[in-house]
Subunit: 286 residues, 2 copies
């Protein structure tokens, strides 16, 4: 199959990521799909295609892999799209197939893979990795190759921590009994951007975001570090410890290093976008 056109079977191909991948692979390959309403079953797909992509909700991934496992051969390349890699990769490694765990680091709503990152976790040293890498790179995506363990460690921060903060942010406002409408009236651009990023997450599928928190083995450790850091800074403020707060601020500023300059510049571009949409944001905050 390397370098040539091949038959791709997407399990869960009617879902958002499934449809996105279908469109992407269809440009060069033949794509078949199975889903709740499809004529083809998951096992039909495995018998028909030499590349199988499991694109189902996190909590269903392992059981779908187990369902198709007996039908996979050494001629198959098996991939998943799960936001977590340790558990699905462990399940996929038990099959006879070549295995490349995959995590597209973007929402399908982005429309294109250009500039987006795709993480690949090859198992059993498969030569099929270069084929997949080539496919994504030709769509101008950035491919990062790592182990399932390291992937999940990074996602403990990039996903668990980042989403968690957005959710706690909105929970705090709700618990303080403040109306978003009033807050938006006084908002700074920085506040509006944080609010929009939280809204982006809370507009999506609750089970996806719950699974990301619950199923990542690194999540408890990262959230513990977060609540300890919260308590540390809260105490500095409560005690009016100006020197301590300024010292921490400076240390963190140094930790970010040259990124700060880029952050100032790029965030000013983000501020411009939000300012241009201010009327729309104000109107939709009720």
């Amino acid at each position: 199959m390397d370098g040539k056109s091949f038959d791709v079977g997407i399990i869960g191909g009617d879902g958002k990521m499934g449809s996105f991948l279908k469109k992407a692979f269809e440009k060069e390959h033949t794509v078949y799909v199975s889903d709740k309403e499809s004529k083809l079953s998951n096992v039909d797909l495995v018998k028909k295609c030499n590349v199988i992509i499991v694109s189902v909700p996190i909590r269903e991934t392992v059981s779908v892999i187990e369902e198709i496992s007996p039908h996979l051969t050494e001629d198959h390349l098996l991939l998943d799209v799960c936001s977590l890699k340790e558990k699905p990769c462990r399940a996929m490694a038990k099959t006879k197939a070549h295995v490349v765990g995959m995590h597209p680091m973007f929402a399908p709503s982005c429309g294109s893979m250009e500039n987006q990152t795709v993480v690949l976790c090859p198992l059993k040293e498969t030569p099929r990795l270069s084929c997949m890498k080539g496919f994504f790179e030709s769509a101008h995506a950035r491919v990062v190759v790592t182990t399932p363990e390291n992937h999940d460690k990074m996602m403990g921060i990039i996903q668990c921590l980042t989403h968690f903060i957005s959710i706690v942010y909105v929970l705090t406002m709700k618990n303080l009994d403040v109306e978003i409408k009033e807050l938006v009236d006084y908002a700074s651009p920085v506040y509006l951007i944080e609010l929009l990023m939280s809204g982006r997450i809370l507009a999506q599928d609750k089970s996806l975001y719950t699974d990301i928190q619950m199923q990542n083995p690194k999540s408890p450790e990262v959230l513990k570090a977060f609540s300890e850091a919260t308590l540390f800074l809260e105490t500095l403020v409560k005690e009016g410890n100006v020197d301590g707060f300024e010292k921490t601020f400076e240390e963190l500023s140094n930790y970010l290093g040259p990124l700060k300059k880029t952050a100032s510049e790029v965030s000013s571009e983000l501020v411009k976008v939000v300012n241009n949409k201010k009327e729309t944001i104000l109107k939709s905050a009720k």
Copy 2:
């Protein structure tokens, strides 16, 4: 002075916000400045000008107001630019001048006031408010009029909470001993935006951000609500309480209401900006 050109004196006029306001007022009025290096003293300025703007760091605002207080008359209009309003307004209210507490809700680096919000807190029911309101509105800023107390309550969330979260976010990553460089390699657009917004804050003046936390009377209450919300959600994750987490997610989603749709749309614009700058961001993360 109403409706006509007047002499504006900016105390701290060489600072970032001072220079920004100087440029804005100079278009229609004569502006004089006092600062550490200026020929004119603060008191000279009060004697020369009928509009006085105190544009100095938060922790110096009240003492500067007290310094000029004996020289202010009922012909003066006195304003400040402090991010907090209760304390400076209380000090300004003791003078003979007309008083309008002011808070420009943007960084001077924005370059223009267009679409930006300016909060005004008139005291002693001054007729001079309409003059100031007109000035900012003619520069296409949005003017919100409220009391100093309500202003500080809103800032407890818009500033204290929002900045606090950005700082805790970076502190957590640092405490977990992860290199930003590696994280950025795997980053999703949502993570990059959060990181850039934190970097934007940590690139700025530590004393400004420390004062915002320490001097707002509402800050301890808001941070307490935040650490309680953190603990609540952390416990749900630790206990693997899927139903509880999903229920909270759904409640918060409802709390945001129609804003979520706008959030999804506008945040997609933000994602585009970040994707276009991805190479620059990657290079500057060391």
